[in-house]
Symmetry: C2
Subunit: 195 residues, 2 copies
Amino acid sequence: MTKSTVVSPQAVRDAARDLFASQGYRGTSMKDIAQVLDVSAPSLYNHVPSKQDLLHTIMDVAMDRALAALEVALAGVNDVADQLRRATEVTVLDFLENPAEVTVCNTEIRSLEEPYRQAIIDKRDAYGRRILAVVEHGCATGRFDVAEPRVASFAILEMGNNAKAWFDPRGHYTAQDVAALYGSFALRIVGHRAG
Amino acid sequence: MTKSTVVSPQAVRDAARDLFASQGYRGTSMKDIAQVLDVSAPSLYNHVPSKQDLLHTIMDVAMDRALAALEVALAGVNDVADQLRRATEVTVLDFLENPAEVTVCNTEIRSLEEPYRQAIIDKRDAYGRRILAVVEHGCATGRFDVAEPRVASFAILEMGNNAKAWFDPRGHYTAQDVAALYGSFALRIVGHRAG
């Protein structure tokens, strides 16, 4: 019996994302993905050229979304403390709202082949440089006071990365509450002084 | 030809740790591990009951080492700010010194079966509670001022988790320099006031 269900590229990506997050890229076969989508493994290749291509697309879409959200968060914001608060909040919200994608991005850069690998690292670095530029600008204008802006910007980026592991959307805090707390931690890390 | 090389339990764990870190638990077979050790796959079962048992042992040894190092770092330290600084430093040093183990502990709790899974989560939670207790004690005694000690303690634990990704031991900072920076960030996050 030939299965002929039509699946969207988005559905394929979502199924692959969840499987990569729960059992790893190498531990997931195209057959596993086809099974979740209820299509035959050979027919899956009508939708995607390869498992490697799927992994890259999942990460690329995730990075583009995060980079775009960061630009929106910073657009028209002039005060450097507001910039850092907003950049941190949008980073933490992205972590909380896309837990499976974040797991894949965190863990499977190891599984990307070139030139995919470098392309994703470049986007991740671009995100980090945007945060670092805010921290450095704050230091240069005397609003922030931190010995090592580069290390501080890494700490700010990382501190909420695993919040998805303990955050409970039905719990005491909303995602926005959590993001706001991390925003205040970021300002403390850089030694923010009121302007 | 029968391979009869004698391998130590430590060598088996180290080989498995590196493979789990680089290609994931599910993406690694006992045959892969045997190949690295240059023994036959069947003979590997003389050393370890199962791949699952290996994963649990790797994480259990890592958690016990981290918990013991935390206790050593806090032993005889009475000032709560010194406690938080030292706890943060020893956490970051553990992250920097054991990158493959940290990757496995971060990513493969998903692959643990019960009762192993809960046992490792319990140890991870015990580590987190020890940090939280320091933060709460600092708040209760007026030395720290932070709205949500629980979230602050998560941020402190997480902020250096991925420092291994950018830390270069031949670079500008030593591991101890990096740990000291994160210690100062932790004190800032909790709003430390000099005693």
